[in-house]
Symmetry: C2
Subunit: 324 residues, 2 copies
């Protein structure tokens, strides 16, 4: 819960059976309430609430750091820098981070709540209203629930944050040029952004498999919903049509907890297509077929019938041929 202290440092022999000592660090007044909650649950012999910024405290090194630092689209007004400071100063070498990594995904999408829903409201056309509404969304990304059926192409991992190793500087800027083939006919109206967080397995091996917080449109709705970057003008796309863009997120120079986001629409001819690519450019269709053939031949020749073979090519093909 966000109302509770953001950061916990715990020293444990068996986390599952209960930590021996927990430092709960929270600078705001909510720390006072946290102290009451600790007492109410008769845990004051274990949990010590420290009402300070983590940058100002002194505690022994700990076995694990647990923090709910994630903002909208992961990075928005998040507390990541403070968590990295805590790791660099208070985590034992073999300590665990909860979560230990996070990935941002992006995919093209429709946004009915800002476009199509206004075309016919009980028989009234409200397109000019929707246009004004979108104009208010140009300055900041919009937090909405995106339905899986509104996604218009496969997602790509935009960036990966390694909570065990990344420094604050590693998070200064992310950028990606990408092309994706539209997965169906539709109205391309924005870029949908979401994240997932991965947690370490518990030390005694309990828990069944990966522990993941997934905020994808295909998963159950969370507090974070999804974030959409709204296009100023929609674009009709056909199945297989390449959608090319460049997305840049960089820290705001005046406020390091904020990121500036820039989305540029690119011509699909000017971008290296991935391998394989889902778009309907002739080169991509041919390459996909060749890759499939290679994979099949490799399977036969090496008699590796029971194993999957992945083809890895180092150089992206230079696709300057548009047959759309």
């Amino acid at each position: 819960m966000e109302e509770c202290p953001d950061q916990y440092f715990s020293s444990y022999e068996d986390l599952d059976a209960g930590a021996k000592k927990v430092y709960a660090v929270e600078a705001s007044n909510i720390a006072d309430l946290a102290k009451e909650v600790v007492k109410e649950n008769k845990l004051d012999h274990i949990i010590e609430v420290i009402k300070e910024k983590v940058e100002d405290i002194k505690i022994p090194k700990v076995d694990a750091i647990v923090s709910e630092w994630m903002g909208f689209y992961l990075l928005h007004e998040g507390m990541l820098d403070s968590v990295i400071y805590a790791r660099e100063n208070f985590l034992k070498d073999d300590g665990e981070m909860f979560p230990e990594s996070a990935t941002i995904f992006v995919a093209p999408c429709s946004i009915p709540s800002l476009y199509n829903n206004w075309n016919n409201v009980h028989g009234v056309s409200l397109k000019c209203f929707a246009k004004e509404l979108r104009a208010t969304k140009n300055l900041r990304p919009e937090i909405v629930e995106v339905k899986p059926e509104d996604l218009l192409g496969e997602e790509i991992a935009y960036c990966w944050v390694n909570m065990r190793e990344d420094t604050a500087e590693d998070l200064n800027e992310f950028t990606l040029k990408h092309v994706v083939g539209a997965s169906k006919n539709g109205n391309y109206q924005g870029l949908c952004v979401w994240f997932e967080c991965n947690f370490p397995q518990l030390p005694d091996g309990t828990g069944d498999g990966r522990v993941v917080l997934d905020t994808s449109p295909k998963s159950a709705l969370t507090h974070w919903k999804q974030t959409v970057i709204v296009l100023p003008h929609e674009q009709d796309v056909e199945e297989g049509e390449p959608i090319a863009f460049e997305l840049n997120m960089s820290r705001d120079p005046t406020s390091s907890r904020r990121y500036n986001i820039q989305l540029s629409m690119l011509s699909p001819e000017d971008v290296d297509h991935p391998l394989p690519c889902s778009c309907h450019f002739t080169k991509c269709i041919l390459t996909k077929a060749v890759l499939a053939q290679h994979a099949e031949r490799a399977l036969i020749e090496n008699k590796m019938d029971d194993e999957k073979v992945g083809i890895i090519m180092d150089e992206p093909i230079d696709d300057d041929d548009d047959d759309s």
Copy 2:
């Protein structure tokens, strides 16, 4: 929709087939957008958007006034006074008001989102947090979704607003003393307030029966949800236990669009019980039985077997006997 002009005045021969002339009155800048919407829908020969307060305009008398003036719990920051001004100045004698009446209902309830939900949050007791949370709700009623199963007694009509006749002065103050028997064992934590609005039948007799906007917990959720007045301390009640209260709503002297609300818990012995009363006081149980007997006897004696008989008594019984 709230974004659209709040008040429409229409002159029609056949509302169902379309009004001849509509005056849409809206003082804020949203009127400019309304003008665009009218154009977009090619209705500018019928709808005239007037960007002024209704108190400042001059238009001919109209056949109908349509207005979405309802605030939370009906009266909160509503536009009712302006609608009454419009009726008194611009409605023909045989004109129609949409809606034509509204009723506020109240019933005792549980509020899990402010009480019981915090007793065990993934194994953690957060009662002290819930107490702080409730303390922030003492100054204003809370807008929440109340589930039908959280109602703890039958609702009573708190007040009835007649849009055809009531003056602004008629709405200055409402007050009600009431007793209701708890419909089941539970935690009495607040008073649930909601409203319904009734609309006139269309003049050509179309439409199937009453047209009602119902914001009851038993109906589909609306923008208004329900309003709860939170008790500072919860009270365990048993089925049949009388719950007595006095509820007063009066205009804020400094802002006539706001109401001050006062809820007083009363001793059930100090309040006249309704007839019949659902509580388990001996007098109420006996009176209920006597009323039922009377009704049966009247049916037999008057051979009115096919008609229902209502017993009306002028004087409430004086119930000063508590057998709970």
